[in-house]
Symmetry: C2
Subunit: 242 residues, 2 copies
């Protein structure tokens, strides 16, 4: 049997929010690559899929540094891509798990850039397949019963690391705006939403679908000093009240 | 047992792209509401979930007219909302299926607007839960191995029914733009992409994840007279070559 690589989106956190296709596939894998957790614990992506794994699977955790040093990051991606290629070359069914969807704001894309079009030592192309996952904002909309966009409307998915004028333009140009990576930037974002009269049309959710999920429908009431969890996202919908 | 309503996103088309949560739930439903198919056939949403349904389920197909007559549409939504409310009131586990994700460009939101905050005859609130689904563009990105956005980038999800200057602005302001509802507007959209130098950064996919899936990586080669399938979507990523 020829080796193959599968990139699998785990969805936002709950194990039963992965797709049926991913659940079935996970049972058959020989090797699963997962981003390493902090402090020696399971990675979040790994903990989401653990219940579906077959007994034969070998787990390969890899640490992806959150550093600004581009050279250091690239060396890690090069190494993980080489390791995966070697496993596929050896005829293994190899998985790589990422939170949410693997094609949106995901480390997977750096590996895809290295492995797409790759030819193995025997001259055959490296076979790979991606299995989509539920994005956090889709889960947040459902859990908060707060719609994203409908009919002629549009949605923008932004990172809060963007410049304030870029975020402001998006909030004016689209009925729905998803603000990812709120962590550490909540006060500035809240001021911007207040300025644009959007506080009543915004919902903040942290750790969507996990046991620690928290929802704030009244952003004005969130304590300025409160440390929001790392996975905090704001969904704004001008056409709907929070 | 108290009645409850579940809105279930079926994902883009393949039965195994629904979530494990949705699959488990579908087995237990008493009633399933589905948009009616054309010409007496199964609705697409219904055909996606049929294999998961329990034997006890009663299927209620409802025709949602694609008319410009707002009054006619509203009368249908009012009636379906009333029918669902009656079933929940009677203690039933009621499902409503929609293609893709139920919170994005979905008929479900019109029902949500009617049922949110509803109080039943016995004074209890109408209990409801939404189960997210994979959006078509997420499936397209995976199937075409063509990423959406990463790091500081942003993504806009637009309907091609928007004005050309609105689409043009989105294509200039976001690295990734998803163009939904291409059907009948392909030539204008292709001209716009050509004008902005984006033809090489666009992928068109119709019927993603279905047996009839078609992918075009060279939009210039698509026959102008060709009638694209109804479910045709273009994904543009300025930072990636198609």
């Amino acid at each position: 049997m020829a080796g193959k690589l599968y990139a699998i989106g785990t969805g936002p956190g709950a194990s039963d929010l992965i797709t049926v296709r991913a659940a079935r596939l996970l049972e058959t894998l020989d090797v699963l690559y997962a981003p390493a957790g902090k402090k020696g614990g399971d990675s979040l992506a790994l903990s989401i899929v653990r219940e579906y794994l077959g007994e034969q699977v070998v787990i390969e955790e890899r640490h992806f540094p959150m550093t600004a040093d581009a050279g250091e990051k690239q060396a890690v991606w090069d190494q993980v891509a080489a390791d995966i290629e070697q496993d596929v070359q050896a005829g293994k069914q190899v998985g790589f798990v990422t939170l949410g969807d693997s094609m949106l704001f995901s480390t997977w894309v750096f590996l895809l850039a290295r492995l797409q079009g790759k030819v193995l030592a025997d001259g055959s192309p490296l076979d790979m397949e991606m299995i989509p996952g539920i994005s956090s904002y889709s889960c947040i909309a459902s859990a908060a019963q707060f719609p994203l966009a409908m009919e002629q409307q549009s949605m923008a998915v932004m990172s809060c690391t963007a410049e304030p004028d870029v975020l402001s333009a998006a909030l004016q140009n689209h009925e729905c705006v998803v603000l990812m990576k709120v962590y550490g930037r909540f006060n500035q974002i809240r001021s911007l939403l207040a300025e644009l009269g959007l506080l009543k049309h915004a919902v903040l959710m942290a750790n969507a679908s996990m046991a620690t999920e928290i929802t704030y429908r009244d952003l004005a009431s969130v304590d300025e000093q409160a440390k929001l969890p790392y996975f905090s996202t704001i969904v704004v919908n001008r056409a709907w009240n929070a």
